[in-house]
């Protein structure tokens, strides 16, 4: 069985090469970030297969990867927001969204692309 798991893990790794291509190609930063997300999920899968092939203790590594998978993407959306520390779900135009618009307005003008 462990040969099968290693073969599966190899195939899964190979499929991640497509994600590497997308990170290289872009064109939007969001494309790159989501491709990194794909590598994160695929990496969890590879760790699981390795764990099945050799040592189940490796599951902890997969758990760490899964737990922290979203962190880079969250930092990314924060960096993309108008003042570099917001949340894309905040509505910068209408104050009715329940957020304080004054925290958002100052950074808006110089950063709009």
């Amino acid at each position: 069985m462990s040969a099968w798991f290693l073969a599966f893990a190899t195939l899964l790794l190979l499929s991640l090469a497509g994600a590497l291509w997308r990170i290289w190609r872009g064109p939007e930063p969001a494309d790159r970030m989501m491709a990194a997300q794909l590598v994160g999920t695929g990496g969890v899968g590879v760790v699981l297969l390795l764990a099945a092939a050799s040592d189940w203790q490796m599951l902890d590594v997969a758990l760490v990867l899964a737990l922290l998978a979203a962190f880079a993407a969250i930092a990314f959306v924060k960096a993309q927001s108008v003042d570099g520390s917001g949340d894309p779900e905040e509505d910068p135009v209408s104050p009715a969204a329940g957020t304080d618009p004054t925290t958002i307005q100052p950074g808006r003008a110089p950063d709009a692309r």
Partner: protein
């Protein structure tokens, strides 16, 4: 051994979904469709993989960890897909 066969079939099916996700991220025409392809296919693939491997787990703690891993991956993927999509939409709006 029937458990082994179930494992292999489920893991193989999971791999197919992973490859579908990769095909999507390479082939789809724009950011939002690529995002869509990847977050769905990937997590189904991981789920099938985990279900398959659960048949091989040596003890119940490992099965619990496997389920927890999938839960974490789903929560992370759902959150990031929503946030990155919204962020990409805003970037499109401001650039037009």
């Amino acid at each position: 051994m029937p458990a082994d066969i179930v494992t292999l079939v489920l893991c193989g099916a999971g791999l197919v979904f992973f490859f579908a996700g990769t095909a999507g991220i390479i082939r789809f025409p724009d950011t939002l469709t690529r995002l869509h392809a990847l977050t769905k296919a990937d997590n189904v693939g991981l789920g099938l993989l985990i279900t398959g491997l659960a048949f091989q787990a040596p003890d119940w703690q490992s099965v619990g960890k496997l389920v927890l891993i999938w839960a974490m991956a789903l929560i992370a993927a759902g959150t990031t897909a929503q946030l990155v999509a919204r962020s990409a939409l805003q970037q499109q709006d401001t650039s037009q």
